[in-house]
Amino acid sequence: MTSLLPLYQITVPTLEFRQLAPVLLLFGAACVGVLVDALMLGRSRRFRSEVQMGLVLGSIVAALVYTVYNWRVSGGGELVAMGALMLDGPTYLMWSLLLFFGLLAVMLFKEEKLGGGANAFASSAAAIPGSVDEAEADRYRLEQTEIFPLTLFSLTGMMVFVAANDLLTLFVALEVFSLPLYLMCGMARRRRLLSQEAALKYFLLGAFSSAFFLFGVALLYGYAGAFDLRAIDAAVSNPVYGRGLLYAGLAMLGMGLLFKIGIVPFANWIPDVYMGAPTPLTGLMAICTKLAAFGATMRVFFVALGGEAWTWQPIFAVLSLLTMVVGSVMALTQHDVKRMLAYSSIAHAGFILTAITGANQNVPGGQPTAVSSAMFYLAAYGLATVGAFAVVTLVRNAAGEENDMAGWSGLAAKNPWVAGAMALFLLSMAGIPLTGGFMGKWMVFSSAWFGGYWWLVVAGVLTSLVAAFIYLRLIVTMFGQAPARTTFVGDASYWTWIPIIVGALGTVVLGVAPDLVLGPATMLGSFLR
């Protein structure tokens, strides 16, 4: 038969199912989740969110276990799915972190005790705010259980994003993980107009940056004649034509990627989106989106454009300086806790970018590479961030979350444990020793210094001081001032307490015994070219 149809023969793509299992598991669970929403009608509707949550937790845990297993078995370093994905050390590292933080963040989605039986998402996102429909949906206690499969789709996209070995896969993954986020941004239960505005802003700007990204991909394809990262690297090392296309493509692609991270001047969306989005989702975006975007940025710039390092390093240096300064200074002026955390997340992105600027990949003496430094920082930052946003959901007034800093005053008198945990998270973000944040700062700055950017380190420590002031101010508010009258600490279920406890323990462990994470991270710190 085959000989009869030689022209129509299609090569069956070989897929390494074992290696791809973590991605497929999440994707499969997401698809089942969609079916659950479609099929569980009538009386069984009540159990939807339990079933969905089970799917999410099960698939993420299974994927996490599979990732670790795969890493133990194959040790990293193979191309899979016809060269679309690269499973090397950093991939395993980032997948583990993505899944771990995804797991923590998604727990907050399920918190219903805090809101008196309703979670942080709108009961019917399609209903017009303030309309009869909305009131009815609230009355019948409807739930948008779509958030769970949407989160899984988003996580799937992020996992592909950090592993993508060619620019097209990269772009597809970018869209896969972004679209669900745009959607969920607009689904906050309280302050719905603000939430919808955030979603629209995020979507428009995101679409705009995607266009830049895609244009950059096209230009680089024009330069190298290939999408494959290593082929681009080869073309950079042995240029055939002039470099105009390369530089233009590099700039456009960089803009798209830096937008996703939130680097000044592409960070304007972050404060509005973080503030408007439902707080559990903000937690997810603050850590997982950043992690994925940093991972992909490093892969593209180290693997494909490493030969041009001397071109983009100075630009990154200036951008990281700008980002650190603008993020810290703007955070100083905020009165809304979520907005303050948003600006501070911009500053953190600046700190991490210093490590990428250093671009040390194979260093003498086996000390951490740029990748492992950035990932360690993200791990420390992620633990503190997930915990901090969980605490944000806890501090409430009669109308819902109390995000105004004035309402946080004297929180320590009301609940010393919650205030203490928040103080720990803030100290970690400030980079005080014996917390993970300090070790993270240490690593990214040493990474920058190895690349020769000692002045960036000096600038970095000075902006750290400004940044520290931001967090200390909130600590002073919580511990040193008279208790605010209308604020109380909500009664939460384990879905909120687990992220807080894990975040606090992890923050201390990373600060006291960083070797536990740093050991593997250093081992997995180099991209395979």
Partner: protein
């Protein structure tokens, strides 16, 4: 490796402090005191072992990729500081037994917990033989101190504590850049390491060494408070309770001078020689400025903290004069100053706890009503002005006589500090204690002279001051090897005397 005595010594108060965060009622103070005394016992044990010649150092890999070790060890100076810490802690707890836990403050249980945590962290600071480890604990001590000021301080405690924290953090973060730089240099030289003993072999000279040294030095200058970055100290001390102020000035600020000797000079001998003339001048400015500011203070707590600025000037002068005598004098002073300041802060604290204010003008003729309190203040003030017979005298004398060999003019000018110290010390005593009895001020003292506990708390402090005043040998012998090691490290010899003594 032998039994990790030093690790235990630091862990005992840390564990005790963390235990105290568990809910318990009346037992908490006793438990806190138990842990403080247990630490004191361990401290004495360690001191006995050290003087017996035992090697107490510990060295375990801690963060392998960074070449950082859990490395603890003692030298003479380190032991002196550790002993100071473990002796002062139970005294502070005793003094604050009742005064903490007043209305508007946090619980006394939390106070005890924070003090114990601070003690444990300080022990690790003074014993760390690894740069990163030292830095970690150096910064970590800020947190309990911050909460001690915020939770138990006066009406402006929040601002004062924030100022303290920001100044210290600014210094600390600049030092962080240097700490990272040391790592990069050592990694480029072959293998990354943070061990002091291994870093001695790493070339840290030249311009790089100077910049890195400055990073460390700035942090220590802020910490030790020297003019012009001393302004956080009076504010913090004014707002803190006497006990916290004692720990802040007596123990924590010593990290500044301690760090100068162990890290600035230990890591960068060449750069330290280069910076010495500037530091000597800065020390002189601190001596005079601190004394003048003390004379001008209207608040007793502020006055005491300004005297410390002046005294820290003497210590720094002794360090950067680079003679065996002045260095030994400085380290001896670091120990004495801890006791001397403790005596002052506690004596002032007794007055404040009765009168409710530290304003000098609010007192008058108290001596006639409360003679014991007056006597305590007198002894403390005399110790502050370095009266012969008090421990501060030999140490200050050693600093000046040693410094005279190398910087005669500066050493000569520094005697101004001694003259001015008489002015502020007597002013501290004269206004509140002598003169006609101010009825309003004396009323709270009527029949409420120092009680047994308050007297008892002062006994070990004044005892130590008198002991070392008349018999300084043990303490000087303890720190002298450290001074000699420093001289060897900077490769300087003592200046030859112009006239040889009779042999």
């Amino acid at each position: 490796m032998t039994f990790p005595w030093l690790t235990i010594l630091g862990l005992v108060p840390l564990v005790g402090g963390l235990l105290l965060f568990l809910p318990m009622r009346e037992a908490s103070k006793w438990l806190g005191m138990f842990f403080a005394l247990l630490t004191l016992g361990f401290g004495i044990g360690v001191a006995v072992m050290y003087t017996g010649g035992a090697d107490l150092s510990v060295q375990v890999p801690w963060i392998r990729p960074l070449g950082a070790y859990w490395a603890l060890g003692l030298d003479g100076m380190g032991l002196a500081m550790v002993m100071l810490t473990v002796i002062l802690t139970p005294i502070v707890l005793l003094v604050e037994w009742r005064s903490s836990g007043l209305a508007g403050r946090w619980s006394s249980q939390a106070f005890f917990a924070l003090v114990l945590i601070l003690e444990g962290l300080s022990v690790f600071v003074f014993t760390a033989n690894d740069v990163l480890l030292f830095y970690l604990f150096f910064e970590a001590t800020l947190i309990p101190m911050y909460f001690l000021i915020v939770g138990y301080g006066g009406p402006k405690a929040g601002r004062a504590a924030l100022k303290f924290l920001l100044f210290s953090l600014a210094g600390g973060l600049i030092m962080l850049a240097s700490v990272i730089g040391v790592f990069v240099v050592s990694a480029s030289a072959g293998r990354p390491t943070y061990l002091l003993s291994e870093l001695a072999a790493v070339p840290l000279g030249g311009d790089v060494g100077r910049w890195l040294m400055l990073g460390f030095l700035i942090a220590f200058i802020v910490k030790a408070p020297m003019v012009p970055v001393h302004t956080w100290l009076p504010d913090a001390a004014e707002q803190a309770t006497p006990g916290s102020a004692t720990l802040l000035v007596g123990v924590l600020d010593k990290i500044g001078t301690f760090g100068m000797i162990k890290f600035c000079i230990g890591l960068f001998p060449e750069a330290s020689r280069w910076v010495a003339p500037a530091m000597v001048v800065l020390a002189l400015v601190s001596i005079v400025w601190g004394a003048l500011a003390a004379i001008g203070s209207k608040n007793m707590m502020r006055l005491v903290s300004y005297t410390s600025v002046s005294h820290f000037g003497f210590m720094v002068l002794g360090i950067y004069a680079f003679t065996t005598t002045s260095l030994s004098g400085s380290m001896f002073y670091m120990l004495n100053h801890g006791f001397s300041t403790a005596a002052l802060f506690l004596a002032v604290g007794y007055l404040v706890s009765r009168r409710g204010t530290a304003d000098i003008d609010a007192f008058g003729g108290i001596q006639k009503v409360a003679p014991v309190a007056a006597g305590m203040l007198m002894v403390a003030a005399l110790s502050s002005l370095s009266l012969p017979g008090m421990a501060t005298f030999p140490s200050e004398f050693m600093v000046m006589s040693g410094a005279f060999g190398r910087y005669p003019v500066i050493a000569g000018l520094s005697t101004l500090g001694m003259v001015l110290s008489a002015v502020y010390a007597l002013r501290l005593y004269r206004r509140p204690m002598t003169g006609p009895v101010n009825q309003e001020a004396a009323a709270p003292f009527e029949g409420r002279d120092l009680n047994v506990v308050e007297r008892f708390a002062m006994v070990p402090i004044i005892g130590a001051l008198l002991l070392f005043g008349f018999y300084p040998q043990p303490a000087v012998k303890l720190v002298e090897p450290t001074a000699q090691a420093v001289m060897q490290r900077v490769q300087l010899a003592d200046p030859a005397p112009a006239v040889e003594g009779v042999k």
